[in-house]
Symmetry: D2
Subunit: 382 residues, 4 copies
């Protein structure tokens, strides 16, 4: 039986935008998805040029998100899109995701999930009510060696976890480019479009999700310091937080977008009673394991010693580096599998989104107060 | 105007094969290509399963390469394939490439180009006669920082080149897996299907092409040692060669498939009067430049200081690693651009293929003789 | 004029002790010092064996510290020791240092300086009153590339400093070896001999001193979390702290002795408006500089681009690695130069010691309270 | 019983010379040696200044090497030197070493051993006749992890050895500094003082000795290319060689002093049937082991998994880097142990020196001929 690609529509991601293009490559890589519709920009010319360049049928390049939902619903089932990729600024995530879910489409949404815990809960409710899948672009959890780290910790290789250190260092907001016409920077530093957190929401959430996902632990409480280093900026560009995990592990989370000269330095280190592991996004095909009683090991993507769940995320033999787009594609592949119904592959979704929204709110509250510790409410419901 | 994807047919690359899947991902990544036809295997069941899994229309999954050429030629121009990807064992490259070119299709062929210089010249002649494009999968030259290295040397950053060191270390043939049912290993060690060289043809050619492409220099003569370390093997599994370049530079080329524990260790180092550079395929987003009089520099994919020709090969901001598939996709993108007629992007083709075939013949001849140096005939015609 | 070595006496450092042997190598390396006297152990046999193995004259192997002070004072000036190296557990630092200073000897003391700020102030007063030099073994500030980092920041290369991240990860206390007869572990986890801090005093102080020394900034206030991960341990084995520096920079300090598998992972990263730097003790001959607008640079010990103050700390050409003992020896050399009177070389002393004692007290106070921030009293007097 | 330091005299190594100072630090580090005499320079002023700066008694700063031998022989046994360190240009090694041995002193000599195989054999004969020890400064074999590599290969960890790759890249002779007053460069490029080889003798010998010492194999024959890249230079500044080892292993040796931007890049890689190892002098505290069937391991100086013979060469716990001087000091320590009579520690001596002299002669002969392979005579006698 011929296996047809699923059909994807996209909102946002007009020419020049970064993340929309990444979604398109990630969806295309394995042939699981075919982009067939889009509402790429509210600027009609830009919208059309984007659709043309992508080879879309003109009638499926829609003037608005609402028009896309309506237009696609009107198509027969074998033609209309299966899912919507939401790649807009944060303030549009919740309304669009909810509308798409309610219109019967699956949703692959950019992070952070929403503007607030309440919005995130509303998305969760809509997903549940609609029976549709909701995927969240916590891309880094799609890397094979992130899965290896998670699986090994879950198996107990490190013993009980004591320390979690996660950091995410970028330097691209070191100057006030948000006031100099850089669109990526502009909305990310605008509370109306970005939400409560600047750096916190943009990359602090990645760090937090990775730490919880890989360690398998929940953060109980945080003590945080938010800074604005670039004068005039309205949202934090630098985050420091101490973490206390349920069960006693201690953590440090550092995220910054003013670490001048840094690129995309997401790094996770976790230590347990027997050893520790280290993974860094910029060299993602290596996982270092250090042990109390024997030499450190370098576990390599494609190399010996991998868990089955890791091997399932790889496309090439060891030494043929896979990167960011491949990690992203792993999420799209798992999302497709879930939609097709054969899916036992994990992908980040509502639960991850809710946790990170609670984290944002806890950090913002703590940083604004004199209290040492603020609880990250663990009571989310999916 | 809507930009349609070009149509690709593939010969070889049935389920389980490594390189066919890579070609498909590379072709799909940027939306430039759409796989629409294939003759994936002479095993009918395997052929059909591969086509189905890839979502091909059943009538375009052909029982043989000849059937594919005939079937596609019979289709109207707006439907038939634009190009054929030849991903078969080496002995089939020349006959298939020539047939495809003569049938009016462009060809993207796996390396090494052919079984002999004579065959390679025949392909070149067919390409010329047909006016069709011929691309050769010297994948590593598609990496952005390989282009950066090349462009900087061409610009004179290092001064006159003195030393070229290239190595390509793999360990996967350390055991006699070619006699234990590993199909990849089997044909690569069979002179009838692989040609004159084993390791030499399979990866020594990559090393040689990279060295000449990046240095901009031609190897004049070689002094080589070919070894068979695994008893019973019929082709070399280990290559060592001294290189003398026109103009006086000296080089060393080392390739091995019995470097136990190594993955895919292709590394190039070039030194000139003013400094040197180093690039390693397994961490491909970094190019190290060392200087006589100032600190070494780490040039990063997406970071500051890149040439325009490098930037054109990148898809993501610095720190978001791109890998092997992306490098490969750069070749498919340049190949598409050439076919579309707007193409000023370089891709490896007949000239690179001829040089590497001459290199194979020179090394084999030298290793079998008592002569210190053997010329690599520089007289190829494109 | 013949340049004679200065004469050193040592208290502590009997056979089997780690740090005493390091002091002896560091003192010997450049020929500036000659060990001539010692009170190595209160165990008479061990004391004698240590002295014999070191080739000391038997009459200068003293039964006690007091005996050494008295015995040496009784010798003529050209024979008696010039300085005492105090390499005992922490609780003995202050009484011994003060006694030695008052007896007219210079003192090179292990860190942390003392058991409290009050004791540290008393040492400072004794040094001032005696006119003798007091050096403190903040070894890591003796590395050449630490000086390079300091000098470049002081020169403004990075612009105004925004972020300071310092970490010191060890794993050797991951198990309760302090209860299993390991003497090094035993006293370090005993409040009566180690003081207020465990990991905090032992290595957190190194991290803090390095951060302030290199950044040139003062920590204003801290928010800290101290943990005891090994059950039954009486002092912290893990430290996490947020730092606020005078002038607005933010910092994170992480120190742990239960980071299983880690060795001696002291790492410092500092970012300013224009770029950042990174130095790691375990590969100490490399300093990485990253920039907003140009490629990162790798500054190497002995390589091009070093400040004069760095070059003065080097013994070998670039590529001939210098290590921990050489860094330590730089402190002994500077200490000797100061004693000889030609000394304009910096070495860590009373001021550094006082700051770190204040830091210990602030962290302990903060960790025990509900307050978010605790001031690190900047009012020390030297 | 008090353990007295052995007494060392030095010939060569006046102020400003590099290697003499290194010998002095290496000898001093562990307290095994005390420098008491010297003939540092034929320039009387420089000689005296060197002796004074080192704190030598004026009567033991000798005007010539002969004067030193005579003067020291005239002293009573408990005062006179035990050994002579020969740190002069190559052409003086043999006459001085032989004279010192015949005068009853042990000798620690710089490499290469001599100007010819014949001279090296004469030294060997003198050592044998005198019953004195002869140590040769193949410093790099003093690194702890070099010993670890050697011991593991000897134990069979890698299985039968197939590949040996050794390289030694420097860039300091990239310009004609030998014609611009650099004394280090001057004599090293002068055949009358350096011998048959330039780069070959200076660092190619280090690479060769390391390869044979660690692999435990003998090079049977070589095919070599010697280059002079800097116009006007009289000795090779760049060496490339293919190696065939007895038993079938194949090797590549690359040494260059015109690899612009390189520092002191000595690197050794050896692969056997089961795995491979890699050691690089510039990060000497790490030994990487790669395996066919399990993840690579990072063996660290001071860390878990070391052989006893490695641990005996270490001074500090893991993570406290030891460097070049410490490696050198290991040779002086082993030399001292041999003299004291309790010595079962290995150090490089006559056998290593003879092998490297034969290697030099074989490479020079091969490079000048049309022959593919030249034997490295294995018939040396110790």
């Amino acid at each position: 039986m011929v296996r047809h690609a699923l059909r994807l529509g996209m909102v946002g991601g007009g020419e020049g935008a970064f993340i929309g293009a990444v979604h398109r490559m990630a969806a295309a890589l394995d042939g699981d998805w075919r982009l067939v519709a889009g509402a790429f920009s509210t600027d009609a010319g830009r919208n059309q040029r984007t659709g043309d360049a992508l080879g879309l049928a003109p009638q499926r390049v829609y003037a608005s998100f609402d028009a896309m939902l309506a237009g696609e619903r009107a198509l027969p089932e074998g033609e209309r899109i299966d899912a919507v990729a939401v790649v807009t600024p944060n303030h549009l995530h919740a309304p669009m995701a909810i509308a798409a879910l309610e219109a019967g489409f699956h949703v692959f949404c950019e992070k952070p999930m929403a503007m607030s815990v309440a919005e995130a809960e509303a998305i969760g409710a809509a997903a549940k009510a609609s029976g549709r899948h909701f995927a969240l672009a916590f891309t880094y959890s799609g890397y094979p060696l992130v899965e290896e780290a998670r699986a090994r910790i879950a198996r107990g290789d490190l013993g009980a976890i004591r320390l979690v250190q996660v950091e995410y260092l970028q330097g691209w907001l070191s100057r006030p480019i948000d006031e100099q016409g850089n669109k990526q920077a502009e909305w990310r530093t605008d509370p109306a479009r970005a939400g409560l957190g600047g750096c916190l929401g943009d990359i602090g959430t990645h760090a937090f999700q990775l730490a919880e996902h890989v360690s398998g632990l929940r953060v109980d409480s945080v003590s945080a310091d938010l800074a604005i280093h670039v004068p005039g900026r309205r949202l934090d560009d630098d985050v420091s937080a101490l973490l206390r995990f349920a069960g006693g592990a201690r953590g440090v989370l550092k995220a910054s977008q003013v670490a001048a000269g840094e690129e995309n330095g997401l790094k996770l280190r976790i230590h347990g009673e027997q050893g520790g592991l280290e993974w860094a996004q910029m060299e993602p095909n290596t996982l270092t394991l250090r042990w109390l009683d024997r030499p450190a090991e370098i576990v390599r993507a494609g190399g010996p010693g991998l868990q089955d769940s890791t091997a399932a995320l790889l496309r090439t033999p060891s030494g043929h580096p896979e990167g960011y787009v491949e990690a992203f594609a792993n999420l799209y592949r798992a999302f497709a599998a879930a939609i097709r119904g054969g899916g036992d592959r994990w992908f980040p979704g509502v639960a991850d989104g809710l946790r990170t929204m609670r984290f944002i709110e806890a950090v913002v509250a703590n940083a604004a107060s004199d209290a040492k510790w603020t609880m990250v409410d663990p009571g989310e419901k999916e």
